[in-house]
Amino acid sequence: MTDTAEKIAVLRASLAKVEPAQTQARIPLGHDAADHCLKGGLVRGVLHEVLAAPGHETVAAGFAAALASRLGKHLLWIRQDFSALEHGELCATGLLELGLDPSRLLLLRVADVSGILRAASDALSCAALAAVVIEFPGNPKLLDLVAQRRLMLGAAEKGVSAILLRFGAKQDAGAAETRWLVRAACSPAQEENWGRPVFDAQLLRNRHGQTGHWVMEWSCDDGQFAANCGAVVSSSGDRPAAAAMESLRCVA
């Protein structure tokens, strides 16, 4: 038995040499259950993947922006040209409302998928960036395991996190540290101040821990996630919707 134990120890040691040490500080998301599952929070300098549920692209983009803003100040957002037509252009005032500083965000428009990968690897070598959000449509052949692994290594080199934001993608083999499937969650019922970003986030893959499924609310004021307990702040009936409908009728 001791023989096997020794062998395992040796193997672990050799693995530790191959895999870069996961001793970097983790950044808590603010959501207790998720942080517990992630053993303290998001790791810097790795690849995270955010998959959008069909029809929930903007929500996933919001989730990616939220993760990126947890990771640090300076961000680069890479997207393909047609994405602005399909999913809309990033709106600086909207980012500001989410609690991000638009003046610290750079936007790169590229023409094709190979350009995205090329730009991402360039950007990951800039240590001043906290995170690079890479918008990717579908499952292009170029984004195979090798390319993902390359992004992962690039991220590890300077400690810049890469967030792969994928629209309309099927799940495939990937090299990412974490993989999230994000869709919108409904605002808590009967809440006066509805409409804060609430995500239904499913952690599909976690290389160093368990997976999970939570409803996470992004607090725009504190810049962190919070558990959505659905607490009703004020129970003044269905005022917002009803009042607005009323005003609609007046016009009609």
Partner: protein, 460 residues
């Protein structure tokens, strides 16, 4: 149709420029004629001018068939003025051109001498003496003036110069006197270069033309190093760097990179060129090799050593990344956001090339109150898309063929268009935040008397 140019043999047979073609054909039935193509001639002249850049960066066109080179400070590199002129003419002749050249202190004098005394080099101050015996046609005056001088019996520049200035001005205008003074070296008139002159440049000539990409890149790196030394001595950095490749067969290719802030680090410059050369749609073609590579720094600006501290370092790294991405993808593709002073949602911010972005005087201001949900969407559609809306118990709307049912609705937030910007009044918009039954949040607006609905953006 008339002859616009004749070669030496044709001249010796009595043909001349301006002669009617039928006339010439009658004299010489076997005459070979080609249609004149002025744009092509000009293009060729520009290519020769490009090639002449290898001798001095100060080249000006003198159409239809002349080039003016300012060789001040460059002649010693080629072993003196006479040797430089000889070499320039010889290598152009080798390329198959008929060349006449002369060197003098002023452009008009040099041009007149080139026409009449090929290969002359006039020492400073000797213009008047060497131009005196030349015919007045050498000054390239308009035909009427030349004819008038002929009729007055003044046939050479010397005779013309002997007349009183007042007399000449009264008869022919001030311009003629100015040209004459200029030709005689009594006044100076700078020529205007066809390309902006670089502030600093470094170049390397090769005895054996270089071909491989590696050599080219390492040459650029070492040129960057020597350029950087000069820049550092002057406390400046360049905003625009241009690499000029002179091919052995005369073709010239220019590649420029621009930077967001004055730069002089050799490693940075070398890397930017590496990116740029890598991303070229039509890669540089070395052909038989380049025999001269020049690196020129333009738009030099004061560049103080970077400040200390993490913040300055961070800023510098980001600027470098921006330059790098701009070199590869083009500066219009790497953008940063700036606030704009308007309440129209799509105009409330602008994207500007990050390389040229200056710190904005406006600051970003939130619209929502504390603890409130965002009031502007995360993504804004390029143009608002019309949606069909049905109002029943709940609001139903259809966008891109998909039906949505509003579970929550809040509004209206009325946004009036800026009447002072538009000729015809634009309807104001009533914006509603809507959450559908799946939890997706949209930003819809209604405008017009018979309401039309549009979807303008999506919230996170």
């Amino acid at each position: 149709m008339r002859l616009t140019a004749v070669d030496r043999k044709a001249t010796s047979l009595g043909l001349y420029v301006g002669q009617p073609l039928a006339n010439a054909r009658a004299m010489l039935p076997a005459l070979k004629v080609m249609a004149a193509n002025e744009p092509a001639d000009l293009k060729l002249l520009e290519r020769i001018a490009d090639w002449c850049d290898g001798f001095t960066p100060f080249v000006a066109l003198d159409p239809p068939r002349g080039l003016l080179l300012d060789v001040t400070g460059a002649a010693h590199l080629f072993g003196g003025e006479q040797a430089m002129l000889g070499r320039l003419c010889a290598s152009l002749q080798k390329q198959g051109f008929k060349v006449r050249g002369a060197l003098a202190s002023t452009a008009v004098a040099a041009r007149a001498l080139a026409r009449c005394q090929d290969g002359t080099v006039v020492p400073p101050g000797g213009e008047a003496a060497s131009l005196a015996p030349l015919p007045i046609e050498a000054l390239n005056l308009d035909p009427v003036t030349t004819h008038a001088f002929r009729r007055a019996g003044l046939k050479t520049i010397g005779q013309m110069a002997s007349r009183g200035r007042a007399e000449l001005t009264a008869r022919f205008g001030a311009q003629l006197v100015f040209t004459l003074d200029h030709a005689l070296g009594q006044t100076e008139k700078p020529i205007s270069p066809r390309l902006p002159l670089p502030d600093y440049c470094a170049e390397r000539r090769f005895a054996e033309p270089v071909v491989t990409q590696d050599t080219i890149l390492s040459t650029l790196a070492s040129l960057a190093a020597s350029l950087s030394e000069v820049l550092e001595r002057h406390g400046e950095g360049a905003r625009r760097l241009e690499a000029v490749f002179f091919r052995a067969d005369g073709a010239v290719r220019r590649i420029a990179v621009e930077t967001g802030s004055p730069t002089r680090e050799p490693a940075v410059i070398a890397l930017l060129f590496r990116e740029k050369l890598d991303a070229l749609a039509d890669p540089i073609d070395p052909g038989f090799g380049f025999d001269l590579i020049r690196l020129a720094a333009g738009r030099a600006e004061r560049c103080d050593a970077a400040g200390f501290g993490a913040d300055a370092k961070e800023k510098k790294e980001i600027r470098f990344l921006v330059d790098r991405l701009a070199a590869r993808f083009g500066s219009h593709r790497i953008l940063s956001f700036q606030p704009n002073d308007t309440h129209i949602p799509e105009a409330a911010f602008v994207t500007v090339p990050a390389q040229y972005a200056e710190a904005s005087k406006l600051s970003w201001e939130k619209i929502r109150e504390a603890r409130e949900a965002p009031r502007r969407p995360l993504r804004l559609l390029a143009s608002p898309e019309p949606v069909t809306v049905q109002q029943g118990e709940k609001l139903h709307f259809r966008w891109r063929h998909a039906p949505h049912v509003a579970a929550y609705l809040e509004g209206p937030e009325r946004i009036a268009m800026e009447w002072w910007r538009h000729q015809t009044p634009q309807p104001s918009r009533d914006y509603f935040r809507v959450e559908d039954e799946e939890g997706r949040r949209f930003w819809l607006y209604r405008e017009g008397e018979t309401p039309r609905w549009f979807l303008h953006g999506m919230f996170a």
